[in-house]
Amino acid sequence: MKTHNISSRDDRPGGDHAVYRFRLFVAGDEPNSRKARATLDRLLATHLHGRFELEVVDVFVDYQAAIEHRIIVVPTLLIESPPPPRTIVGSLDDPAPLLTTLGLSNGGQHS
């Protein structure tokens, strides 16, 4: 795993599509962090079709970033864009809060 694993699959803001920017804080590859990453990858692929930026930060590598963003618990997902900024903590077992927050809850799948 890289320090700043930037999985940027930016679509070049093409006008009608909002740009989603995420920052996911994990602690190495401990189970909750791994789970959160996997879920997030899957959801973003399904719903955003590459119209997003995701930065994964390992707090044990970049603790300064953790201080800066006040990351006390991991995993923590910061939704930095579109505004307002929001925070979701946990392994994202239930995708509903994330999808609702992003206004994507209609997207066919539910769990």
Partner: protein, 568 residues
């Protein structure tokens, strides 16, 4: 995972080599808190590289204790980290500034780090999480600062994030493991739940601590009292009392009183009372380092007598601290001018200092520590307290008693003479004169009062007690003149015996009184004689009755004549 391990095993974490399993043979190392009074109670400080749990309700000062531990540690070369789940760092810095602590300076020098660990309010939850973010930050900071101390404030707030006791336990285990591995001297503070609902983890929480300190703030009679108690200290002795503490203007302050009375200095030489006649009566004067009690009705002259002593001590170049609960220093100095006692020059020369505060303005502890601070800063040879009768207004009888006992001890330990003024209300039992059950601590007691005679009120005083010296118990008349306290001989004198009508009358009255007493004694003796006669007659009659009823066998109901029975 790999990376995490790599990070926690950097050379700075060498402390992990120390045995963390219970090692009873090894001498327990301690880290001084440098908080005034606390290290004495803890017999050296907190357990080094181990965890201390501090619990207390909100407002008890536990956050302050943690912060002061870090602040003083940083000043003494031990950098520290503060993790606050409740208070934002800005507020902490502000509060610290009111105590004169410059936290930003220490932060700049990398000797202190304040982490804002409050959870953002808009946070959503989904699934499981852990406090590893916190640990990562703490570990990272610990490395770069070379931290030796850490305080985790209001941990219960963080633990509330977790739904099950199991999760809470896991988090606490992880935290505990990390703290032990890092070898940090730790303070965890938490507020015990009021309803007992969270007690599932509190037991475990407390078991993490090698040392447990309970802090408590109570309000009695509208004045708050704060108490600190060491509940447990694995492998170490500690003071087991409840210790009062205050938040003074420089930080926490507490007093260990385990050694009360053991370190009192012996009484010193005789020092002048400031009045030659008074010196004679007291066989040379007061004893240095003693406790002197001046009791009397309002206006009886206590303050004048005290001021006379103060002026003479200052004139010898000695320093005096005057603690006044009623009058401002200016008013007191002015009032004394009318009796010829000049104090102003001594104030200007820095030999006389005042500590004036209304008793209600502070709790007994704060009063005590304020006095102690002045005593330590000013190093007086003598302390005057005017008046101890006002002390109960600090929060009741018990508060007054504790204040006086502590102050007395503080003075006696330092060989400082302490003069207590006590305003009494009229009754003149010795208990009331000494007031506050401190009579056993008093070395010299002088009682000032009035004697009323035809058209005149005369001031008299009497030495009730003067430990370690010959003294006269005789009642003396005195006057408050332009030249101060002036002793007059009441009954027998050289020269001015028959000058005042009042004294003359008093003498007559005394004669009458002694005659009355003699008469009373005579009456009592007669009465006694009469009683003895009656007893004797009854005894004889009984013996006769017994002999008549049963000439051979004495009755069970009649006492057999025996040598112990009422003598003739």
């Amino acid at each position: 995972m790999r990376r995490k391990r790599k990070n926690t095993h950097t050379p700075e974490a060498h402390n992990t080599s120390a045995p963390y399993a219970p090692a009873p043979v090894v001498h327990l190392e301690k880290t001084p808190t440098h908080i005034r009074g606390l290290d004495e109670i803890l017999e050296g400080g907190l357990p080094r590289s181990r965890t201390t749990v501090v619990n207390g309700a909100s407002g008890s000062g536990k956050t302050l204790l943690g912060l002061e531990f870090l602040y003083r540690g940083a000043l003494h070369g031990e950098p520290g980290i503060f993790i606050g789940f409740e208070e934002p760092p800005g507020q902490i810095r502000q509060n610290a500034a009111t105590l004169g602590w410059d936290l930003p300076a220490l932060e700049e020098q990398n000797r202190l780090f304040l982490l804002d660990a409050r959870l953002k309010p808009e946070t959503l939850r989904s699934g499981n999480f852990s406090l590893k973010g916190l640990l990562a930050i703490a570990a990272g900071k610990c490395r770069t600062m070379g931290a030796r101390r850490i305080v985790i404030d209001a941990l219960e707030v963080a633990l509330r994030l977790f739904d099950t006791p199991r999760q809470v336990r896991n988090e606490l285990h992880a935290l505990n493991d990390w703290l032990q591995a890092a070898g940090l001297t730790t303070i965890l503070t938490f507020r015990p739940s009021l309803r007992g609902e969270a007690s599932i983890y509190e037991d475990f929480f407390e078991s993490m601590g090698d040392c447990i300190i309970a802090m408590d703030a109570r309000v009695t009679e509208q004045i708050s009292t704060r108490r600190l108690r060491v509940v447990k200290y694995r492998g170490s002795g500690f003071g087991r009392n409840e210790y009062p503490y205050v938040i003074s203007h420089t930080g926490l302050r507490m007093a260990a009183i385990t050694s009360v009375g053991l370190r009192h200095k012996p009484l010193g030489e005789k020092i002048s009372t400031g009045n030659a006649r008074m010196d004679e009566i007291l066989d040379g004067g007061y004893r240095r380092g003693s406790c002197i009690l001046l009791a009397g009705l309002p206006g009886a002259g206590k303050t004048t007598l005290a001021a006379t002593f103060v002026a003479s001590a200052c004139a010898r170049g000695e320093r005096v601290l005057y603690i006044s609960f009623e009058e401002s220093d200016a008013a007191m100095v002015n009032n004394m001018l009318s009796t010829g006692v000049v104090l102003q020059p001594h104030i200007e020369a820095g030999r006389l200092a005042f500590l004036t505060r209304y008793p209600e303005s502070l709790g007994a502890e704060e009063h005590y520590f304020a006095a102690l601070e002045r005593i330590e800063a000013f190093s007086p040879a003598h302390v005057v307290v005017d008046a101890i009768s006002a002390c109960h207004r600090m929060g009741g009888k018990q508060a007054a008693f504790e204040y006086l006992m502590r102050l007395l001890n503080a003075c006696k330990e330092r060989g400082i003479t302490i003069m207590l003024l006590n305003q009494i209300t009229g009754a003149t039992s010795y208990m009331e004169i000494s007031g506050n059950e401190i009579s056993s601590m008093v070395d010299t007691a002088i009682f000032l009062h009035y004697e009323f005679s035809l058209g005149e009120t005369n001031r008299v005083f009497q030495v009730l007690k003067s430990r370690g010296s010959r003294h006269s118990n005789q009642k003396r008349e005195f006057r408050l003149t332009d030249n101060g306290f002036e002793v007059v001989d009441v009954y027998l004198g050289e020269g001015d015996v028959l000058t005042g009508t009042a004294r003359q009358r008093q003498e007559e009255r005394d004669l009458l009184e002694s005659q009355r007493l003699a008469y009373e004694i005579e009456m009592k003796e007669l009465e006694l004689k009469r009683l003895r006669l009656i007893q004797e007659q009854m005894h004889k009659a009984r013996a006769r009755r017994a002999a008549m009823a049963h000439p051979e066998k004495p009755s069970l109901f009649d006492a057999p004549p025996s040598p112990e029975n009422p003598r003739s």
